[in-house]
């Protein structure tokens, strides 16, 4: 086996943020555009998003939700109706104020035809969907109303970062209305569970399910639930959120219904979403110093078959590669196999697929053709292996399954190794001075104490893990108070 060096410089250990940028570039996933903070998702990156969409969309529909589409442009009055909501989004929203460009005296184009009232490019759609729900819902028979939307949203981020924080991003946002508080909260938890399953099974990402503190709650929500994962640098990434909105948005939008008792009542609503941010999480959770690593469920290509092209006898090797592809598809028609017959140098082609994160990269040369074998790299290891072709075909599915399991277990081991219990602010300070990770500490939930911890230690609460809400103890920030076990971390 040839000597190896890392494909990505710097390594994760040397400079994690810079490694992240370079891994994205090496896999050709995305780039910033010349418009401030806006991202171009290139075909390799978008193919991952399409895989995510396909799985999530199927699951969202299975749970009874239907897709719809609501306007990109919102009346600013929408936002104004819910006090916390406007507070949360007014600071970072794109405003449309004119509807025409006209040549000015100096020859450049200037905005003309001012709108009667400025419009907001949606940062989220609670209010516009709420307004529609108010028209659509009349009686308890119209409930529950379960809607999902795939859309782009805009938030004026000042420090954009590919996939993690961009001015525009793609997401799905679910919006539902229910008869009772219990049903709306159940819905929020059901969707949290859906995200949990997606993260663990499709992303191979162990995640914590929990409730947010007041400081981290969605503007206007009564309760925000979230899924939190640990990245390889020990920082937390919020993978998805699910909000129990109480009657706040129903009141703001006048979503009323005639109940079973004939009385008019406000509906109870929920909303929940996840975004292209997931791709950032995927990279930071599984990537290594050779580039990104894709879990089998999300890899646009699961098995890349690379015939080595030398000129003489290429036809036979190419036919051998095609035969392998067919045998793999015969074993499982749902396998995503690609034969890359481009006449590139073997090494160049091989490294492109390795950096692209493909789970199984198969190389076929004259030697393999003559011996009836395949030489392959499983992307979670460094060593190429050789197997008889028919053996490889019969165990490809197992290899992929095992590969996914390895990714998951690596991540779980990492999280366990970097999770500590902290009894005091001093212990928190030491832990986060020394690299950090997830710190479990009792916390009273006071917003100003949380802000103080944020200012001093650059940490925030990630969640109060579900099922442990009753595990109470003296608050890490003010021992005179008590509070539930809470996860602290630095977060993306």
């Amino acid at each position: 086996m040839e000597a190896r060096r890392n494909a990505i410089g710097p390594s994760r250990a040397e400079n994690f943020p810079e490694w992240y940028q370079q891994a994205i570039r090496a896999a050709d996933l995305a780039e910033l555009s010349s418009v401030r903070g806006c991202m171009i998702i290139k075909p390799n990156g978008y193919a991952i998003w399409e895989r995510m969409q396909s799985i999530l969309d199927t699951e969202i529909k299975k749970t009874g939700h239907r897709n719809a589409y609501f306007p990109l442009l919102l009346s600013k009055n929408y936002l104004e109706r819910e006090a916390a909501h406007v507070e949360g989004f007014a600071k970072e929203c794109a405003l449309v104020t004119h509807s025409r460009l006209t040549k000015g005296p100096d020859g450049t184009l200037v905005p003309t035809m001012p709108l009667e009232e400025p419009l907001v490019v949606r940062p989220t759609s609670e209010m516009v969907i709420g307004e529609a729900f108010a028209r659509w819902i009349h009686s308890y028979r119209d409930l529950p109303l379960l809607i999902n939307q795939w859309a782009n949203v805009v938030r004026w981020e000042m420090r954009p970062r590919l996939f993690l924080r961009t001015v525009e991003f793609l997401w799905q946002e679910g919006h539902t209305a229910h008869e009772s508080a219990e049903e709306a909260e159940e819905e929020a938890l059901r969707m949290l569970e859906l995200y949990h399953t997606f993260a663990e099974e499709s992303m191979c990402l162990p995640v914590l399910r929990g409730k947010k503190t007041a400081a981290e709650r969605f503007p206007g929500a009564r309760e925000t639930y979230a899924i939190e994962a640990m990245m390889q640098d020990g920082k937390a990434l919020q993978v998805a959120t699910s909000h129990f909105l109480g009657q706040n948005f129903a009141r703001a939008c006048a979503i009323k219904f005639a109940g079973r008792d004939g009385q008019e009542a406000f509906a109870w609503t929920s909303s929940w979403g996840c975004s292209t941010r997931l791709i950032g999480g995927l990279i930071m959770a599984h990537g290594d110093d050779d580039g990104i690593v894709l879990p089998p469920a999300l890899a646009p290509v699961q098995v890349a078959v690379l015939p080595l092209m030398h000129g003489d006898g290429d036809g036979e090797v190419l036919a051998y590669a095609e035969k392998l592809r067919e045998a793999l598809l015969a074993a499982d028609p749902a396998l995503r196999v690609r034969v890359d017959g481009r006449p590139l140098r073997g090494g160049e082609k091989f490294w492109q697929w390795v950096k692209g994160g493909t789970p199984l990269v198969v190389e076929l040369g004259r030697r393999e053709f003559e011996a009836g074998t395949v030489s392959y790299l499983r992307r979670d290891g460094k060593e190429k292996k050789v197997l008889p072709s028919h053996t490889f075909v019969s165990c490809a599915l197992d290899l992929l399954r095992d590969f996914g399991k390895t990714l998951y277990e690596r991540q779980l081991t990492l999280r366990q190794a970097r999770t500590v219990s902290a009894k005091s602010k001093e212990e928190l300070r030491e832990f986060f001075a020394d690299g950090g990770g997830f710190a479990e500490a009792y916390f009273c939930g006071d917003q100003s104490l949380e802000e103080q911890l944020g200012a001093e230690l650059s940490i925030s609460t990630r969640c109060i893990p579900l099922g442990r809400e009753n595990d109470l103890g003296p608050c890490v920030a003010d021992p005179s108070r008590r509070g539930p076990l809470t996860i602290f971390a630095r977060a993306y």
Copy 2:
């Protein structure tokens, strides 16, 4: 069989535009939102769009294109670079000028934080994608570059109309770059053919393929090709367009490459798209006085099975309905069958599915259960029929196929009946005074003559049909000139 009245008032003959609005309402497809000109696509409407997307996306990928995503917000400089392009879009574009809402002295929110430079909400993406192509393309080895995007776009329409003309709409836009003019033009024609197949096979819509005159060309294109269909009121609808852009956009965006001869050259580009407008076309082509009618390939539900619920013995009838669904799926797992067991009155439930355009609507009551039959309506007819259940199962696919064929042939007959040959302006005038349709006439292509015809007769050229470009004759507007056979019509 019960006496029938039309479900939609007014009828098509009484008031086609109003019938259109009412058919959309009756099928619960979409509504205008309170934000001027913006549409809410409701779940029933969005499900049709998802069917369209799924078919088109598969075909677009089969022809070697990959999906990607480009920013919603464009620098206004992008538009400025191509003179015809800015001319075409500057009059109707939404401009983002501020990034914050702040409470003003009177308590209302006002836009603050003006941007250094206003941004345009994309009306189309030639320029932002062209700018990316310029970065991505270096050599002839990078060509052809074949990209597609599913996205929302905004054009400031003054007279919005559901699906047909809305301020925001959803579409797919393909953008490609090639080594030679021939390859780019071939690509434009290949995609026109893809749309043609989609229209004829999936939409059951006979369409004309043709070239646009200068007046109707896409701003900045060298040649625009389009698919044109006739609606039931005789007006034309442009279903999709495909543009050969020459080197205009490559020059504006500096898309250059090192050719096989080592010389640097500008690329040749194409772009092509179709939008949620297709849904409007579907309605106006196939709908009848009972509501919309959906072709089998695009119907979210192809067979609606409605057990009549009366209380006594409902369980048996419901089980009979479930058994029918299972038998249909056993015959073809790809069939889209829905059992609607809601406890509505039979007539109400039946009419909902009829107005929703479902190809086959099956009613099952005690009588059918006891006789082992099904009673069904094929949505292209008015009469319910009865068949033994097993016969219905074995011929369901044939019924759907035949149903699609009937829709297509009806449309073709309509178009043939309303297409005339016109030798003079007088003949054009008479034809369009008397209802109109498609008029075939020789036309020299002069833009001012076309504008004059538009002003006098409210007609425009739809296309010069492909394959008939050499069929020349004396121009209908100025017999001293000659020109190719051209289709004139009133158009949406």
